[in-house]
């Protein structure tokens, strides 16, 4: 039986998790969402996720710190950065520190799904999902 991809979403905007969770679950992934970085990091310390999607600008702990924390813990977890404040310097910093991908908000669900498919491929856990197969309104 193929292992289900475990995804964690961290964003202090409620709407992001609310929209992304069903969109990614439709791909056959198991998804947990968090609003608070500290809570998310505690969960990351308990469980090894395959993919972590994190915002950058959050209170107390930012997405780059989350990325660094994950990178210290494991090489397995792929980190996808999402941000409404994309800049070339930030993008390069995230990639240098080991992010798998970097995408600016707003984005369409299919865009993040494409990244998840690539990430799953890289992890050796390809997903049986075709972009556009579940059109959302």
């Amino acid at each position: 039986m193929t292992k289900q991809l475990e995804v964690l979403i961290l964003d202090d905007e409620l709407i992001v998790g609310k929209r992304l969770k069903p969109a990614i679950e439709k791909m056959g992934c198991s998804v947990e969402t968090f609003l608070e970085p500290k809570t998310a990091l505690s969960r990351i310390d308990e469980k090894e996720f395959d993919i972590v999607i994190t915002d950058i600008r959050m209170d107390d702990i930012d997405g780059i710190q989350v990325l660094e924390h994950i990178r210290k813990k494991t090489k397995h977890t792929l980190v996808i950065i999402i941000t409404g404040y994309a800049m070339i310097s930030l993008a390069r910093e995230a990639m240098e520190k080991g992010a798998f991908d970097f995408i600016s908000k707003p984005f369409k669900p299919d865009e993040i799904r494409r990244i998840i498919l690539n990430a799953a491929e890289k992890l050796g856990l390809p997903l049986d999902y075709k972009i556009g197969s579940n059109r959302e309104k």
Partner: protein
């Protein structure tokens, strides 16, 4: 993979470095030979494209419609080529219109003009002093040109990701330095940078289509929305906006067009896509 832009005030040096980089990294070298492909794509001639490129590096400030159009052809074709990655580009003015794409490494080679350097040792007649004055003046005017056309001062090192002084570190070290930098993870392509490149490409495609009909305008695209700022009166705007939207329909990836009318378009924005 990271793509690379190489530029300097000396064409020979730039081409030499670009060729060495392409060989070392197993990349495609995109130089003036690419003009043949552009000529074929747009059913024009190498000569007209070369004339447009020559204008770009000349001291002249005023262009004409043909130069603008041929520069737009070059810009669109070069930008599209970058979608395939693994490119080292030089001599096509790309360092002036490819900006803020995180996976494209923009390199400036700081060098004296080779004519000036070759005459350095013999200055009994005062030729060198006068020659230097001419070069300085050309650089000053060229700085003005690049400022007027593409906003950026191409002689300002801060505009580039890295500026390397050929006289101080030598050709081999320059090639090695750029090769090492290109392998750095921070210059890897990502969804964000690819999207920005696609936006530039869309804007350049629209520019190519609009130029035969309009002159003073600027095009910007983001996520399928094109914003065209054009010099015209409010009275003319409705008619012009209608024409622009019909023209933009020819590009399938442009979903929506916004047209802004301005009475005065700053020369800083002429010939630019952002």
């Amino acid at each position: 993979m990271t793509s690379i832009l190489v530029s300097s005030n000396d064409k020979t040096i730039t081409t030499d470095i670009a060729k060495q980089l392409a060989e070392k990294l197993d990349y495609t070298h995109l130089g003036e030979q690419f003009l043949e492909d552009v000529a074929q794509k747009y059913n024009t001639t190498d000569e007209k494209l070369q004339k447009a490129l020559n204008w770009l590096i000349s001291a002249k400030l005023l262009s004409n419609k043909s130069i603008d159009l041929h520069l737009a052809y070059i810009q669109e074709a070069v930008l599209e080529r970058f979608l395939t990655d693994n490119v080292v580009c030089e001599g096509l003015g790309a360092h002036l219109y490819i900006k803020d794409i995180s996976h494209i490494l923009n390199v400036r080679i700081l060098t004296e003009n080779s004519d000036l350097k070759n005459n350095r040792l013999d200055d009994k007649s005062g030729y060198l002093k006068n020659f230097r004055k001419i070069i300085d003046k050309t650089n000053f005017i060229r700085t003005g040109s690049s400022n007027n056309i593409f906003i950026y001062d191409e002689n300002d090192s801060s505009f580039y990701d890295i500026a390397l002084n050929l006289e101080k570190i030598g050709l081999e070290n320059i090639v090695d330095t750029i090769t090492t930098m290109a392998k750095n993870r921070k210059f890897k392509p990502m969804t964000y940078s690819r999207k920005m490149l696609k936006d530039l490409i869309l804007a350049s495609k629209l520019r190519v289509l609009l130029l035969p009909r309009f002159i003073d305008f600027q095009v910007e695209t983001k996520d399928g929305t094109a914003i065209v700022t054009i010099k015209c009166t409010k009275r003319q705007k409705a008619k012009i906006a209608g024409e622009i939207k019909v023209i933009a329909n020819a590009i399938p990836d442009i979903k929506f067009v916004e047209v802004h009318a301005v009475l005065k378009l700053s020369p800083l924005f002429k010939n630019s896509t952002t």
